[in-house]
Amino acid sequence: MKKFDKERVLLAVAGPVMALVAAILLTSVVLLVSGRNPIEPYVIMAEQIGFSDVQVLIVNQASLYYIAALAVALGFRMNLFNIGVDGQYRLAAMVTAVVGAHVALPAALQVPLLLLVAVCTGAFWAGIAGLLKVTRGVSEVVATIMLNSIATALILYLTQKDTWGVQSGNNMTTGEMHPSGWIPGISLGADTGELYGLIFLAVLLGVLYWLVLNRTRFGFDLRASGASPEAAAASGVDAKRMTLTAMLISGGVAGLSGLPLLLGDAHTYGLSFPAGLGFTAIGIALLGRNHPGGIAFAALLWAFLDKASQELDFYDYEKEIATIMQGLIVFAVVISYEVVRVWGLRRQQKRVGEELAAAAASAAGKSVKGDKTEKEVAAR
């Protein structure tokens, strides 16, 4: 059995490694073609890891990516493509910011309230797409893309001056949140910066994700639905309910992904609040193979590329090199996973055939003739 475990690790790692190597090589080609040094940018970026303030930036950014990617991955596990994470988290962050600015409870109540508001808003927004899918058969891809645009418009409307908007300098915000809803960071020294307090939420969500998927009946049904909708239906999974539930959970998790920043640092939702997180998360979930550990690695890598590339500007390289790399990684990941999957399947089939044939051969040596159930199994 040990052999198969090693095999699985090998297969799991082969895909991402191949993708990363391919992406780096292709980026170097791009650099060469544009007449640049094909190696120096990597060196500059790698050096950044050594600085503790950059480390903090990376980890903070990764926590946002991580939660959003978990939301995407949850959908992926049952073949639901929730492209709407972007709209869900922005809307959830905005609504949470508004609630946080207008409600003032003691911190012990305020923080849970804000988390709940974020989850419900995200779930509500994703639930619209889920409901459309199960009642009208609307593809969740189309529905969530449109809901992203609607969310943008809705946020603009809700942050107008005559609704909940508050002008603060050039920025239109939702007003400062009540301090009881702030979540203190973990200070690592004055010039290093603070880690978001909600990083622990990200870790907790990762653990929960694994537990729910792998250790509960619900998780099994969800994975079965993703692997084979027909087999899941025959095994008793109610496909519609499962679709709606998965969409609601995915949206709820998505709703949380803006909170480490909102509650830990920004304390208001404004024009400068990051957008596009939900799209980045799709690539991260892909690279992380929908596995909580893999996603953590992918989120950190992405955050590293984001943050370390800023330094490139000072050395006369374009920081967009990192963007090129991110794009190439996504590309390479999709291809390399399929290659590895097919290869792994062949390998396993061959191996199973061999082991069985070896067993049959030794059994045949021992067995007496006339054993009715004895039959040969040769490698296929």
């Binding site: 084979s228 025959a234 399947l345 054993d371 040969e376």
Partner: protein, 541 residues
Amino acid sequence: MCAIDASSSPPQTERATAVELAGITKRFPGVVANHDIRLRVHEGTVHALVGENGAGKSTLMKILYGMQKPDEGTITVGGEQVSFSSPADAIARGIGMVHQHFMLADNLTVLENVVLGSEKLHGIGGAARRRIVEISERYGLGVRPDALVEDLGVADRQRVEILKVLYRGARILILDEPTAVLVPQEVDALFDNLRELTSEGLSVIFISHKLGEVLSVADDITVIRRGTTVGTADPKSTTPRKLAEMMVGSELPTPETAESTVTDRPVLTVDSLRLEAEGGRAVLDDISFTIHAGEVLGIAGVEGNGQTELIEALIGLAHADSGTITLDGEEITSWATRRRRESGIGYIPEDRHRHGLLLDAPLWENRILGHVTEKPNANGFRLDPKGAQADTRRIVEQYDVRTPGIDVTAGSLSGGNQQKLIVGREMSHAPRFLIAAHPTRGVDVGAQAAIWDVIREARREGLAVLLISADLDELIGLSDTLRVIYNGRLVADADPASVTPEELGSAMTGAASGHLEHTEPAESAAPAAPAAPAAPKDEAR
């Protein structure tokens, strides 16, 4: 005349040899998949290659088609010794393969599918079309170049595959289990096509384990067992039974059940069941039957006459538009699938890959599938992987699932072993009622016997079984009561003790209905008086 010539020397013939494989040996690390295989295919003949699943047929054909290289032995095509390093080499030598699973793009036309990858031969326009029509007419394939593949039925797709191979200039066609997906009439049509091909001097290598078909179409038969050729047989003088014994190397089991175990306790009662397709057309109409504890009710019918819908209505994937289903006195018509399965309905689905397994998941997760709420798979809401794994080991042991372990994916097992796993899983939850749809389809003889044994054993212990099968011998042999489904209705019933496959066959096409009279009459709604034991044709068990 000796029916089975175990010395494997080919019958006397004046025909030229199209392909000859001599002394082919293929080793995988630590094991020999093919050993000293000899095969001689004559021009203008259908040469059947028979053997159990896993006997080495696939490896041999992969070698002949250039997908694998033999370690020893020679391949001779048209008198010239060759060495293939890829299928392209084989195609260049006029060897073509029609795979069991079609490789066609649904959204392209026949013409586009045929020229795809061979654009250099006759272009993609008029010349290609002319060539396709020419081939189609020459061999009676009846292929329309402009039809969309997605609009074609299975048999038509298969003809497109054959045409694809011919278009690439094949003189030797390898057909891998071509009849597995066809209904009897389509099989006859295919065989007519094959005869057209051979009359034009082409050679066909026909891989199958349906022995009746092999005997009706083949000119020569080579039997392969444990990776080596055990002999050749002359289809004119051998019988399916003798062939099967060569394949398995021992005496064969028969599906006949020994004695009736039918009780008078009804387990499943279906009353006036009606199911409509979209638009209100009835796909099932006025279906009524009762299955008692210890009874196997067999449903015969040409595929597509409502069997799939009946299964779906019983397992809860489709809900009856009218009528009732009662399990042990409890009406379950409106129950969801999960509740039905929890209450003791076992399900061996007709398409195990689509409905019975998660192919990419390990065996122990497949053991959970369908029974996720039940012990030993779950404790309350928590999954119990340890319990499931331990029980999977038991199933593997008890049902003789040939696998190196329970962590390999279900997709890497052979069909027979997958099916044994499914049967083991369903029987592990002590079902009261079992839906067995084509339980031994695509399964080798050894596994078939094991699965029949399991069903017989469970029936003795009071299980009610609905058996749906395309294999009439299996139906007649295992069933206590037989009904015939035609056009969504149960049109005839028969006593398996006396009915012949021919009589059943005529009812399946709608030519006969009512009670298929042979011996004493029996009321169709009431179960037949405990069916007399089927007179075993020969006492094999």
